[in-house]
């Protein structure tokens, strides 16, 4: 029953705005601490790889951004369903504000991957399964961004993007597995739910910290963006006017 109530309230931007201030603070602090600890631990204290030496340390940026690039797209697909089925205003805002973030993460994952590939594989770029599907995801993000820009009416733009996000989400696994048809150069997933990682704990522990940290960064970014967007879209309403008129304490 309480879950249902929470669900219902999530439809109200005003309620979300009033509740989410502390959440944003929590996520921001957690992201800062975790990423700081994870990066310093990974770059300065984790043991060097017996084959790759120190070059593997870029993994502590590459893997989290790559994981997040996919997760954000899944979030966009889920937001698309929420928007089309329940017409939830917040879902539209997620769909709008998180595209640049996902685009940035995908670009970062591709860039760090290229930098890592040069010493390890001997080449900046290879069209193998994972690199290609990540590149395609970059194009899908661009498509969402361009479609939103092209449609003048915000409501129609939101629903068009929702549909595109859903179609894209269905396609990502197909694209991924079709590209993996080729014998692939990229290693498999680093973290699996069912198995222990094939790395010693000194190496993967900082990575795990970084992954959790970047999810917190995503949370903080999401909430901050949503709060801005709520104020922007609801600027004509009474509660926003009162909020803005009130002196800061």
């Amino acid at each position: 029953m309480r879950l249902k109530e929470f669900w219902h309230r999530l439809g109200s931007p005003r309620w979300f705005y009033q509740m989410s201030g502390p959440w944003q603070l929590g996520f921001t602090v957690a992201a800062g601490v975790l990423l700081l600890v994870g990066i310093i631990w990974g770059v300065a204290f984790a043991p060097p790889d017996y084959q790759q030496g120190n070059s593997f340390r870029i993994m502590y940026v590459h893997v989290p951004t790559a994981i997040l690039a996919q997760s954000v797209y899944m979030v966009l697909g889920a937001a698309g369903v929420l928007l089309l089925v329940w017409r939830m205003k917040l879902a539209d805002m997620v769909l709008q504000t998180m595209v640049p973030f996902g685009l940035a993460m995908t670009a970062l994952a591709l860039f760090t991957g290229a930098v890592w590939g040069r010493p390890t594989w001997g080449t900046w770029w290879v069209f193998d399964g994972r690199t290609t599907s990540t590149l395609v995801m970059l194009f899908l993000y661009f498509g969402l961004y361009a479609l939103r820009q092209a449609i003048p009416r915000p409501e129609a733009a939101g629903r068009a993007c929702a549909l595109l996000a859903i179609v894209g989400t269905i396609n990502i696994p197909i694209i991924k597995y079709s590209v993996e048809w080729w014998t692939t150069l990229h290693q498999g997933a680093t973290f699996k739910l069912t198995e222990a990682p094939a790395m010693p704990i000194e190496m993967w522990a900082p990575l795990l910290v970084n992954v959790i940290g970047i999810y917190c960064l995503f949370g903080a970014n999401l909430i901050a963006n949503l709060r801005n967007e709520i104020l922007r879209r609801e600027q004509a309403t009474k509660w926003v006017r009162e909020l803005v008129a009130r002196p800061l304490t």
């Binding site: 479609l147 129609a156 068009a160 079709s178």
Partner: protein, 221 residues
């Protein structure tokens, strides 16, 4: 319902032949450009021919997409279709089928000529045609989603390419790899099954997405 709509689409396409012919002429023109671009080296051209044929089929298909809903959108019949009491799955599917007949299916029939211009070995032609026959429905279906989303926009052209081409990638991969494998003498049943599976999935899912996209496009005007 399907037959009526299909008949209507067929008539309207036959009365605007240029729209039907332009993508096909583009296909031949682009093939000629590629042949010139390779400087007449028939052997190299033959090696790359599967990729060239497939990419050009993709692009020619893309060119035909923009016109797919444009006229119906402008004269209001798309709006009438949205207002239908019956499920709109069938008319949409009929529309896409008609479009496929003059693009994907026509290109399948023309493929041997195109492939021979590119010096593809004759033994690979049956596989190429089967792959095109099974793969191009997915192109028309997925493309229709993009076309329906962008039909109301003034400058939809480049955007349409940006939205649709990434989704064409699986068809391209399996289509090309099947033809490459058959040229190397390897069994290609797996890729052909994959193409069929992708098209089946597209047939079942894409028309719903097209209906939703048409509604969004119609409502925003």
């Amino acid at each position: 319902m399907f037959r009526v709509q299909f008949h209507r689409e067929w008539l309207s396409m036959m009365r605007s032949r240029d729209e039907v012919l332009n993508p096909l002429v583009f296909l031949f023109l682009a093939v000629t450009l590629f042949a010139m671009g390779f400087g007449g080296d028939a052997k190299v051209l033959g090696e790359f021919s599967p990729g060239i044929v497939w990419v050009l089929v993709l692009l020619a298909n893309l060119l035909s997409l923009e016109a797919m809903f444009r006229r119906d959108f402008e004269d209001g019949s798309l709006e009438q279709m949205v207002l239908l009491a019956d499920p709109q799955f069938l008319p949409v599917l009929a529309k896409i089928t008609a479009q496929w007949c003059v693009t994907g299916f026509a290109m399948t029939l023309l493929a041997p000529v195109v492939a021979l211009m590119l010096n593809m070995p004759v033994s690979a032609l049956p596989t190429l045609m089967v792959c095109l026959l099974l793969g191009t429905p997915a192109l028309s279906l997925v493309g229709a989603v993009g076309a329906a989303l962008t039909v109301g926009l003034r400058r939809g052209g480049v955007l349409l390419a940006l939205l649709v081409l990434p989704l064409y990638l699986p068809v391209l991969i399996f289509g090309v790899s099947a033809v490459v494998d058959v040229m190397a003498g390897i069994d290609t049943v797996a890729q052909i099954y994959w193409l069929a599976a992708i098209s089946m999935l597209a047939v079942t899912a894409a028309p719903f997405a097209v209906v939703a996209a048409i509604r969004i496009s119609v409502e925003q005007t």
